[in-house]
Amino acid sequence: MLSEREVISTLDMVRNEHLDVRTVTLGISLFDCVSHDVELFIGNVRAKINHYASNLVTTCNEIGEKYGIPVVNKRISVSPIAAVAAPFGPKDMVRICQALDEAAVEAKVDFIGGYSALVEKGFARGDTALIESIPEALASTQRVCSSINVASSKAGINMDAVALMGRQILATAAATADKGGFGCTKLVVFANIPQDVPFMAGAYLGIGEPDVVINVGVSGPGVVKKAIDRALEKGRQIGRPLNLLDVAEVIKKTAYKVTRVGEMIGNEVAARLGIPFGVADLSLAPTPAVGDSVGEIFQSCGLSVMGAPGSTAVLAMLNDAVKKGGSFASSSVGGLSGAFIPVSEDSSIEAAATSGFLSMEKLEALTSVCSVGLDMIAIPGDTPAAAISGIIADEMAIGMINHKTTAVRLIPVPGKGVGEKVSFGGLLGEATIIPVPRGDSSAFIGLGGRIPAPIHSLKN
């Protein structure tokens, strides 16, 4: 027999606190699809995706209905295209990207990730072709996401790639200028990219992964916020006000519950599709809906707004507590697993950025203690490529030195400047353009080469 508390708590989480499974992502290796002929390669890719993904959406919906927990997004991640399509040039890469887009439409998934290259130590032929193709590829497709890993703690930072990505981000924005630089919402630059991320835009299937695999991204910022609010209120009522140790405990327990939901649903989807279950990604992923925000958690913890002094400390505590609770809930934890702070996708973070409480500098500081990085930030369309590269280099350095994943997803909005708004629609939300740090980075970026990997001893 269930207790009242168990039933009511679950009901409240689903109805009022936006508890859902944010994404079930089907990873598909494309290494057995390789060919010297691009049309043959595309045919193999389409056939393999169709074979494994045709029942993904209906299966997720059925299992979501069974447990009363919606699976909001169903997605696909594939092997890095730069590796599996290495013989082809940029024009063929665009054609492959379009085929992936068509495969996503056919499978009824909202995004497919893996238009990716791993170039932290240097460029192979396929990497160069893929990166060159990005602006046209992302402008001519809707559902394909691209990620480029330019740095790692073992290899250092490929500064030639950083310089190139600064230019390609601007070119992608220009190629999608009619939609506010929308192409850049599907393009992310990484340090230490995990091989099993289920979340977009960074999802791709690493080469150490199984042939096919189900990875799950849980959600739950709204659930965490309400749990903190309830605990604080109860503490006041019984005359024992909570301290931060208590708050961390509340977050940890809530993360446990949320992760159990994700793992259970992911396992069942995997079993029904006859595919192994990979990981649950514990990330707190917000949406633009009020009450589904990571930013609001800062207010529950006593800050007037995210960005106020103390914000980095709150985020560090939040991120760590989520990992602790989630790790106890599942032995298959992976991906990014932390708190996301995507500016346009979180109404509270967006409001803090618009009102000037969250600057690029403060966002960068926050990324040193959370996942993923500078995410979904709208910047002026006339930002020089070298400035974008400089921001990427800084963010990559944080990831490289701290042995963590960091990433940059900036949207230079063509024709718009600081204070103007841009809307991307749906889960991508809207953002006010914020200023980038002043100063000229062009000579530094022009040096090129590689920032060497950090020493792994003499820690301090």
Binding site: E4, S9, L11, Y67, R260, V261
Partner: protein, 187 residues
């Protein structure tokens, strides 16, 4: 030995279980299963008991009523032959939790129960949480066993359409999700 089901219903108070269990023990009856609950001021319990063949139902009922009365308890006793095998153990079923939430009023439980009956769904536990969500609000929690040959999607749709005229919010979730979220269990 004969297996009997003995039900007790009446005004709650300390000492009922002590009197009943002593009465059973005095008559060499072995308690196999027991469930007991309190609703408001009312006590209810069902005992499944192994009873020696030479003790009749009427005799045992008389002895238990006498001892309860002599201890000052106002409790009715009903004894019958115990049925064999739980309903859900005779057919493959899946456990679901259905909740209805909204303004309290007549006909609410019967509306839902009729849908369950039509689909051969057995209510295993039913609980009302009054006042949840505001004054005159009622949350009903039905723990049910749904035979595996039933169409879950259709049942879900019928539950929702039955609840709509009563302005009730309804949910139907497999029980495992509650276990997974709130309980730590072994493998």
């Amino acid at each position: 030995m004969q297996k009997l089901s003995i039900s007790f219903l009446g005004k709650d108070g300390p000492g009922i279980v002590a009197t009943v269990s002593q009465g059973l023990s005095d008559n060499k009856c072995n308690i196999l299963q027991v469930t007991q609950t309190i609703l408001g001021a009312e006590f209810a319990a069902i005992f499944i008991v192994d009873v020696p063949d030479d003790i009749t139902k009427d005799f045992l009922q008389q002895r238990l009523e006498d001892s309860l009365r002599s201890e000052g308890h106002d409790i009715s006793v009903l004894i019958r032959q115990a049925s064999e095998g739980a309903w859900s153990s005779k057919r493959p079923c899946q456990p679901y939790v259905v909740t209805t939430d909204g303004q309290d009023g007549p006909g609410l439980i019967s509306t839902m129960a009729r849908v369950f009956a039509r689909h051969n769904v057995n209510i295993e536990n039913l609980k009302a949480v009054l006042g949840h969500g505001g004054e005159n609000h009622a949350l009903f929690v039905f723990e049910v066993e749904v035979p595996e040959d039933q169409d879950i999607g259709r049942l879900n749709r019928e539950i929702h359409s039955a609840a709509r005229p009563l302005n009730l919010s309804v949910s139907m979730q497999h029980r495992d999700i509650f276990e997974a979220m709130h309980r730590i269990t072994d493998f």
